[in-house]
Symmetry: C3
Subunit: 345 residues, 3 copies
């Protein structure tokens, strides 16, 4: 995409980031890059020891880094305790999409007359806003979004194109919802009569706190009775499935392709790796990390790191081992017998 | 969302559900809730023994339950053999979205002049209906849905916002399709010439029976030659992938994140847990249940419950065990040798 | 869907496919089918020995096959070295959706005045094209697609309904993008300050080569700094998640439900089976195949086939074995001890 014209003095950046400047305060940078890709005029950052080897040869005009790496830095430096955190802040200073919203409703949008739009709300082309909807100040709904009846969006939300909210979805301030995500679809609830399925109407809603991000093509289902609840500052990646009546505690993060079955409660400050599956009706306490593609079928009551599965190996070796897995209980019993035989002699 | 005004006498509900009323027939309830969350004026239900402990203290005005729990119920009671099934029926009596459809085409919708709309069809804002499409009586297409050429929808279907059907998709009566689902996209078919891929045009369609529900962001691909076929009363959750020429038998249910590869046939009354993967070209007989995140690489000819994988454990323990998995065949061979040595002595 | 009227003489087809015709050059076929489903008037193909048993009884008027099966063929035959490849070519001759695009912009579409449309570009109903977008000759954007600012589409692309491209996405010639896919959403990047998350603006883009296909409801995220890069002739199925700064080499194929974490590089001519997960920051060399639902947590430097996990088995047996997996390291240590004891005697 076209590069926006940014230009900051190092003095200005040092002030904004709360960094100690080692270098010329009047030098300007106009781009943000990695150490490797940086060209003169860019600022880069060193936040991971693995990239230290690229520091000396970087073309960056300035580098964000920790005190401990200052000696090896040949460019201007912005010194901080947490360069990665500062990089996050810096990245937003170079974001060409960050613009103050201005009140506008595109003529192709269909906004119900009973909907309430706050100040400086932007409604993009082909958007549909249903009856009774309330949208907070400065929120932006990009092209093709559909907001169901009586849903509520807080202030400063950003809905990328083609987001769908069903009726009765309540979202706090500063949400970022990515394209194709669907919030408030029916939970998967059916009763069986021995012959077939009978739908259970999903009468609850979805309650989402402040500062939540939801990735593209992610599903968050509405509750059966009572709400599905997502806390504050929860970050959810793409292709995630959150079933009815799940609860996610504040500050937790779910990576791509995670699936959480109905009524499971995840605590605060939890991290779910890509593709993790949580069975239904579990309780996961605060501070739990589950590594990628693990299956959790029991509640977890102790903070820590949890895993399941096995890593990939050569297919021939895997075939032999996977066959043995089917015999594993037998192998263990035979080992018991061998130990007994040895002892008996 | 705003609570709709519902109000039923217990006598009325007992009649509708075929329940025996133990209590005052003239008492009214205006909400449906769980035992725990119920307030006076609500009806609740007890369908799972695990919740029996909440019965005595529930504030519910009336409770749906089985005869065997009647003694412990302090409120009015509706007694039934299958309270969960009755709850399903009851839930639909409290569904604020259940309204009789009324013939309407939103002015922003684009409906091809060769499309045929039945009686009382509702076409929402920004909908696109292609040439030759046929939509049955009382079907509702909510905002942003796109229906490809020559597709057919039966009576009483409900398409939530932003559903996409490609051309030549045939769906029976009373389908419920959730937002973001895509039905009829090309199956994943390519021939390799040793250098690169050559697309195989996907010339089949998708045939879906009556009373099917499809979750949000789910994909059901069209057939390569011949159709992908979904039977009657099949329930499909969110984030599911159904590849070309798959067949799913009547009354089967697929939980979230299931993936089924090409040409696999799943029987009737099957249950696939969340995240289950079925390889291609398999046959799964009727009455098979596969537990969450299992991988099925061979056909299954006997009804029953099937599983694979391992459950999550502490990461340190898991690392040690996962390393041993790579040695498993060697361990088994060594055990064989030990047994032989012992026998030879 | 309605069958289109196709009719080809066998002579014509033999010429187009470079096949040797064994039969009557003037005979016509009007449909393409499998050996089993073929009716008189159809052409079928035999590309897999497993279907040889259906050759003798097929009703097909003509069959594409390899020389080695000619003796068993009772119909007219088109003889080729690679019948599957020829079937791919043939399928496109029977594709009712293959039509030359004609310049048109639907009146309901919203196309920014600064967008550039090539010759014979088709813009469907409710489409939104942002400022600075460039769309190559003969590309088709079907209903409801949204193209973000400054994105570039090459010649002859086909975007099925409800595709979303964010800003700054660059796609080569002849891309086929299926409904619900989202290209260019933010990568999942946040810095933690010990209390909560701080968003890292995703400043990179997405670069996609020529001849790429992307399945329905698939996500390809934009880079954090620098681009996410998809090579030429890469085929991506439905429900796939490709995280920020991933690179996929030319001619690789990813089956449904694959998830690839950030910054991982996949080589050329790789095949990822359904549901495969690749951890972040890996390098997978050219020519690697990973079987379905495997987890890859380390880089792979040698071409070959890789696998993880275990196949499904009866649930009772599985429970016993899965418990033993948790003891596997202990079992191995006990086996070591037994061997030592035996040796010491």
């Amino acid at each position: 995409m076209k590069k926006q014209q940014f230009s900051y003095t190092l003095e200005d950046l040092a002030q904004r980031l709360g960094a100690r400047l080692v270098g010329d305060p009047n030098v300007r940078v106009s781009g943000l890059s990695t150490l490797v890709d940086a060209a003169p005029g860019d600022i880069a950052f060193l936040a991971n020891r693995a990239y230290l080897k690229y520091l000396a040869d970087s073309q960056a005009t300035a580098v964000l880094l920790h005190e401990s790496h200052l000696d090896e830095c040949k460019s201007h430096a912005l010194v901080l305790d947490n360069p990665y955190l500062a990089y996050a802040e810096l990245s937003r200073l170079f974001d060409p999409t960050a613009q103050a919203p201005q009140a506008s409703v595109h003529p192709s949008a269909v906004v119900d007359e009973t909907a309430t739009l706050g100040a400086n709300v932007e409604i993009g082309p082909q958007v549909v806003v249903g009856p009774g909807v309330s949208i907070g100040d400065g929120s932006r709904l990009q092209a093709g979004c559909v907001i169901g009846a009586d849903s509520v969006l807080g202030e400063g939300c950003l809905l990328h194109p083609n987001v769908t909210l069903y009726h009765g979805v309540v979202i706090g301030a500063r949400a970022v919802l990515h394209s194709g995500c669907v919030i408030g679809a029916d939970g998967f609830g059916f009763a069986h009569d021995g012959k077939g399925w009978h739908k259970i109407a999903q009468l609850g809603g979805v309650m989402i706190g402040d500062d939540v991000e939801v990735g593209s093509c992610t599903s968050i289902d509405r509750g059966a009775l009572g709400d599905t609840i997502i806390g504050n500052d929860v970050k959810i990646d793409s292709q995630v499935q959150i079933a009815h009546n799940v609860q996610i505690g504040d500050h937790s993060a779910l990576a791509g392709c995670v699936g959480i079955a109905g009524s499971t409660k995840v605590g605060r400050y939890c991290l779910m790796g890509g593709g993790v599956g949580l069975a239904g009706h579990l309780e996961i306490c605060d501070g739990v990390q589950v590594t990628g593609m693990s299956l959790v079928t029991n509640s977890i009551t102790k903070p820590g790191v949890y895993s399941s599965g096995t890593g990939a190996m050569d297919n021939g070796l895997w075939r032999r081992n996977a066959v043995r897995f089917k015999q594993l209980d037998q192998l263990a019993r035979r080992l018991n017998q061998v130990e007994k035989d040895l002892k008996d002699r």
